[in-house]
């Protein structure tokens, strides 16, 4: 199950976050997060519900504004970026949403075609179709091309959501709980897909989860978000075998109890 990734370039950071703080009204969610993502790496962020994992990647993709600190993505500081530059940067970031966020009113094909047509100019219909077929094949759902999102299962929706972000050939993938609410077999499929995406498209990824099986299968490095800060950074084994912090152990034991 353990990952073996030779593609990581430790001399090249694609995301670099320093002292990131974010509060909603008086409620501090992130209290000074420091983290780097290296090129070609899968970084897993673990944490309990409500610790601000989604908030973190929403800040990285510019959906939320940071209160304090610096967030550097692909060499650009995004805390004070213009909307035009932000949009340009967003094309290089794929965001897989917690509940897939497929466009309900469009078929699977239209879901994929929509971002492609808007951002890649002068594509012939043939090229568009080729792109769509290639991506659907990559996520293993070629047969779903004409279905509506409402006709798909949770796991299939996740795959189409991932396909929709891949179609613009992003350099960074952000996965928000890719395995939440899926059965264990489908979880393994999604884990494999995440690894395949990394190998095939040479992306760097932040994977947010509280599923330790997913963390173990996909993570080159694991960090734990506790009380607004990152703690216990290292490989999966480092974090869970060598730390005797009570919180971490409880997290581990609970996950593997079933």
């Amino acid at each position: 199950m353990k990952r073996n990734n030779d593609n990581i370039k430790y001399d090249s950071k694609v995301i670099s976050i320093r002292n990131l703080k974010k509060a909603f009204d008086d409620f501090e969610v992130l209290k000074g997060v420091d983290v780097d993502l290296y090129q070609g790496e899968n970084l897993v962020v673990l944490g309990r519900s409500g610790t601000g994992k989604s908030v973190l990647i929403k800040i990285i993709s510019g959906l939320l504004r940071a209160d304090e600190g610096t967030v550097n993505v692909l060499g650009q500081e995004i805390t004070n970026i213009t909307i035009k530059n932000l949009d340009r940067l967003r094309l290089k970031i794929g965001f897989s949403f917690q509940n897939s966020a497929l466009y309900d009113s469009m078929t699977v094909k239209e879901n994929l075609e929509f971002p492609l047509r808007r951002h890649v100019k002068n594509l012939s219909t043939k090229e568009v179709n080729q792109n769509i077929e290639m991506i659907l094949e990559a996520v293993g759902l070629s047969q779903a091309i004409n279905q509506m999102p409402s006709e798909l299962s949770g796991g299939q929706r996740k795959r189409i959501g991932i396909a929709r972000t891949l179609i613009l050939k992003p350099e960074i993938m952000l996965y928000d709980e890719p395995t939440a609410g899926l059965d264990p077999i489908t979880c393994i499929d999604i884990n494999n897909l995440i690894n395949e995406v990394q190998e095939r498209f040479h992306t760097s990824a932040i994977i947010i989860t509280h599923d330790l099986t997913c963390a173990k299968a996909t993570g080159d490095r694991v960090v734990m978000l506790l009380d607004g800060r990152f703690k216990y950074e290292g490989t999966f084994e480092d974090v869970f075998k060598q730390t005797d912090d009570e919180m971490v152990q409880r997290f581990h034991d609970y996950n593997f109890i079933e």
Binding site: S61, R88, N99, A101, P115, R118, H119
Partner: protein, 265 residues
């Protein structure tokens, strides 16, 4: 601690909330005007919405307009009969339908059908993170969803109003023909003699305002709907209520203005 929370509010918590809300809506409208004239234009989506919100309303509007024309004419006849003045029916219907009924009935039907549809649609997109999905794929969701729908309702409600007026007049004609035997040409000659340019013009302008209101309310309620599926239902429901309420207020205001203009005329 208690004092701190108190000093946060300007008047009382409730009144402050109303002002904050009004300010929010104002900013929403302001943002619409800021974005509507700036390229890229969402022509395709506007046409799409004109079809969805306008053309798809035709069956309901045709039925309602026609029946209202018949019923209104029929119910007005006895009062005119007592003066022996049933020959005035075409003129009376013409004024009633074009000045008042067509704009109001169309706007109310559109509130029920269109504002709720917009509220529910945008609300569910908001709740299921689809709006954020647009945003992260570098598509301006305000422009794509909101501007296109407000433009569509602003254009389609006046068009539908003219159509309702026509259908209602046809209903009136059917009734008048049945009882008084007035011919088609003679009916419509009387209809057009009874109305002035100001009547048609003010109705069309009024409908633009109604259409704009319906679009803004539906979009605002949907776009600001709270998380959770109940937020969607609430967005749809309050869209209808708010739109209707605003339309009645606008109707009253425009009545005053048009009457003032009539006197100047």
């Amino acid at each position: 601690m208690k004092e701190k929370t108190k000093s946060k509010f300007f008047l009382s918590k409730k009144i402050d909330k109303v002002f904050i809300k009004l300010n929010d809506i104002w900013l929403f409208v302001f943002r619409f005007f800021k974005e509507v004239f700036v390229p890229p234009y969402e022509f395709k989506e506007i046409v799409n919405q004109c079809f969805e919100l306008g053309v798809r309303s035709l069956p309901l509007i045709s039925l309602t307009g026609f029946i209202i024309g018949i019923v209104f004419t029929n119910q007005s006849r006895p009062s005119l009969e007592s003066f022996g003045a049933t020959s005035w029916l075409p003129a009376l219907m013409s004024i009633a339908i074009i000045r008042a009924m067509a704009p109001l009935v169309t706007a109310l039907i559109a509130s029920g059908r269109v504002a709720s549809k917009i509220g529910a649609e945008i609300g569910s997109m908001k709740v299921s993170e689809q709006i954020e999905a647009l945003e992260v794929s570098a598509i301006n969701p305000f422009k794509y969803l909101v501007v296109s729908r407000i433009v569509a309702t602003t254009l389609m409600v006046p068009a539908l109003t003219l159509y309702t007026a026509l259908v209602a007049l046809l209903g009136a004609f059917v009734n008048v023909y049945q009882f008084e035997g007035t011919s088609f040409t003679s009916f419509f000659v009387q209809v057009f003699e009874a109305i002035t340019f100001l009547d048609v013009f003010s109705s069309v302008i009024k409908s633009f305002i109604f259409g704009f209101t319906i679009g803004v309310v539906g979009c605002y309620k949907g776009y600001t709907s709270s998380r959770g599926t109940e937020g969607v239902g609430k967005a749809a429901n309050t869209s209808v209520v708010t739109a209707m309420f605003l339309i009645f207020i606008e109707e009253l205001l425009s009545l005053q203005i048009i009457n003032a203009l009539r006197i100047v005329d």
